[in-house]
């Protein structure tokens, strides 16, 4: 980091602006010279991918908002008009609708990356907590966006989720009435959801700026989980990481385009192509896939308030994670026992997601209950204990040491002691 000196700009206009508002110096410092640990892998690209997704969502959302009408009488038809009559309306809507799923895929991988490599540990606690707020803002935005087409799933999803707040004693019912602006989900509800759905992405953008600012204070974590000791451990962000992230973004966009062009409704629910009907509940209300693990937790608890608290608690526990994990070692590479529990947690999240999509009865209810119990056991009991009980493997002295030692002494017998990488 010591090598970051003020850049010399050749362009006189740039120079003139920069001496008055050092925006070019800032960009150069944060996105050109920013020292990145030289050993980061492709999992580190998902932050950039998530950022690109936010930009795509805001861009498509803006033009869709110019065609959409937030009124219960015409909302459904206005979406159909976008699909049939508006130039490229079908493309923009499918890019936006599938974009929500892609955004969550990128963010969930980004989060599990952080969990695996201990990116939430000191000094990155605030960075991590800002990430939890980003997740919450994304969930709120995605939920309200799903209400806008005013199909059956929109209406009943909105009804079920707003009713969660009625679980709180005394204040619950007034809060729900206030959220609705009436006595059921209706036109005032749709109107305000549209306003908030437009606002929240910009709140999200602000949070992302803070998240990035906090990241650039402590620097990026890396697969070894040890701090960069000097210039020999890092590479400048540009061109090394811009190119690597750029390649990952392109591959991800191909995956995304696969859904948009070949299976645009695969991640949606067919019932949302039925206009909202307040008198008929669909037989099986399912949220979008990215909410399913949390939905399973909600339904696993037989008590209404308890279910709601458990669901919110499942996210709140993430914010407390930097203090729940008592181990000083960041990366799973050097935590042989935690590494196994990490994968159990990952499987648990998938199982909860599957159980959330199934009817809440019989064996699926049992599965959801075991999954919920394990989720909280992992964070609240296992992590605090494991930090004390587990004996971590020895950490390398620096990021470049294993590489340079292995490469530097070929004759001495590099193949005699293979790297103890997992």
């Amino acid at each position: 980091m010591a090598q970051a000196h003020a850049p010399q700009f050749k362009n006189p206009v740039v120079k003139w602006i920069d001496s008055r508002l050092p925006i070019f110096t800032m960009l150069d410092h944060e996105y050109n010279q920013y020292p990145m640990p030289r050993n980061v892998n492709y999992l580190w690209a998902f932050g950039a991918i998530a950022g690109i997704m936010l930009v795509i969502m805001i861009a498509t959302g803006l033009v869709l908002a110019m065609q959409y009408a937030a009124n219960t009488h015409i909302a459904f038809e206005s979406v159909e008009r976008i699909m049939r009559d508006v130039n490229y309306g079908w493309l923009l809507r499918y890019v936006h609708a599938n974009g929500a799923s892609m955004f969550f895929i990128a963010v969930y991988i980004h989060m599990f990356r952080g969990l695996y490599y201990g990116s939430y540990k000191a000094p990155r606690e605030i960075l991590w907590i800002l990430g939890v707020f980003i997740l919450l803002a994304m969930m709120a935005t995605a939920f309200m966006g799903y209400v806008l087409p005013w199909g059956q799933m929109s209406f009943w999803g909105a009804t079920v989720i707003t009713n969660l707040f009625s679980a709180f004693p005394l204040v619950g019912d007034p809060i729900v009435t206030w959220l609705w602006g009436g006595f059921s989900v209706d036109n005032p509800t749709l109107n305000r959801f549209f306003a908030l759905h437009f606002l929240l992405p910009f709140v999200l953008l602000g949070l992302v700026v803070l998240h990035t600012a906090a990241l650039h204070v402590s620097g990026s974590n890396n697969p070894l989980g040890i701090d960069a000791k000097g210039p020999q451990d890092t590479v400048p962000f540009n061109p090394y990481v811009t190119v690597k992230d750029g390649f990952a973004v392109v591959v991800f966009l191909i995956f995304y385009a696969g859904f948009v062009f070949f299976a645009p409704n695969y991640l949606g629910h067919p019932d949302n192509y039925i206009p909202a009907n307040p008198l008929v509940t669909p037989a099986h209300i399912v949220p979008e896939w990215y909410f399913l693990p949390f939905y399973a937790i909600l339904r696993a608890i037989p008590d209404k308030l308890g279910g709601v608290l458990a669901m919110f608690g499942a996210i709140a526990v993430l914010a407390a994670l930097p203090w729940l994990d008592t181990s000083k070692v960041r990366s799973c590479k050097f935590r042989p026992i935690y590494r196994q529990f990490f994968w159990i947690l990952a499987i648990d999240a998938l199982v909860l997601g599957y159980a959330g999509a199934m009817p809440a009865e019989g064996v699926w209810l049992l599965v959801a209950r075991i999954g919920t119990a394990y989720y909280f056991f992992h964070f609240l009991i296992l992590l605090p204990l494991l930090g004390k009980l587990e004996r971590p493997l020895p950490l390398p002295a620096s990021i470049c040491e294993p590489v340079l030692k292995g490469g530097g002494r070929v004759a001495a017998g590099a193949h005699a002691k293979p790297m103890e990488k997992a």
């Binding site: 079920v160 509940t281 099986h284």
Partner: protein
């Protein structure tokens, strides 16, 4: 700041530092309190604007003609944007609702406290769990284990008095405000 909190001994500030500080603390607190109240009162119109508007509140009461509803049948009417279930109960259903031991109920309520005429049960058709519309109005619908309604969303069972018997819902189906205007007509609201 040091200069302002400990001014040189001139004028009214000649008093001891402790006294001056406490007076200043009081002024800070008082200013802060006035500011906070001001902000809170300015914010209230914004919050309250999201509550139901006057036209929404205007209780559109509706009249329902019960004459065409035969024994054993049920109709659904919309009132305040919500479905209201009106069921013409059979003698067997009334009997079932009456013979329940109140101690076994999650939300104890006697059957005659939930109806004005025993053959007519009128409840808001919204599950008290998370607001779905329970099934059981149509003859082909499942009615749950207690012959009343069954909510397909999360599996709550209601009995023939609309009381919660099984499943996650915490309370009975709500009985709306209504009055019989004649033997076969009822006014909701």
């Amino acid at each position: 700041m040091a200069q302002t909190t400990h001014p040189p001994g001139t004028g009214g500030h000649a008093a001891s530092g402790g006294e001056g500080a406490s007076r200043r603390d009081f002024l800070y607190l008082a200013t802060g309190a006035v500011g906070a109240i001001g902000v809170a009162s300015a914010v209230w119109p914004f919050i309250d604007s999201m509550n139901p508007a006057a036209d929404t509140l205007a209780l559109a009461s509706i009249d329902v003609d019960l004459a065409p509803v035969q024994e054993g049948q049920a109709i659904t009417v919309t009132w305040r944007g919500k479905p209201v279930f009106v069921r013409h109960r059979t003698a067997k259903e009334i009997e079932e609702a009456r013979t329940v031991n109140l101690g076994d109920l999650r939300d104890p309520a006697a059957d005659d406290a939930r109806v004005k005429k025993p053959e007519w049960l009128i409840v808001v058709g919204i599950c008290t769990h998370l607001g779905c519309v329970p099934l059981g109005q149509k003859p082909t619908d499942p009615r749950g284990d207690y012959d009343g309604w069954f909510c397909p969303c999360h599996g709550s069972h209601y009995d023939t008095a609309g009381r919660i018997r099984k499943g996650p819902a915490p309370a009975n189906l709500v009985v709306p405000q209504y009055a019989f205007t004649s033997d076969t007509a009822v006014r909701l609201g």
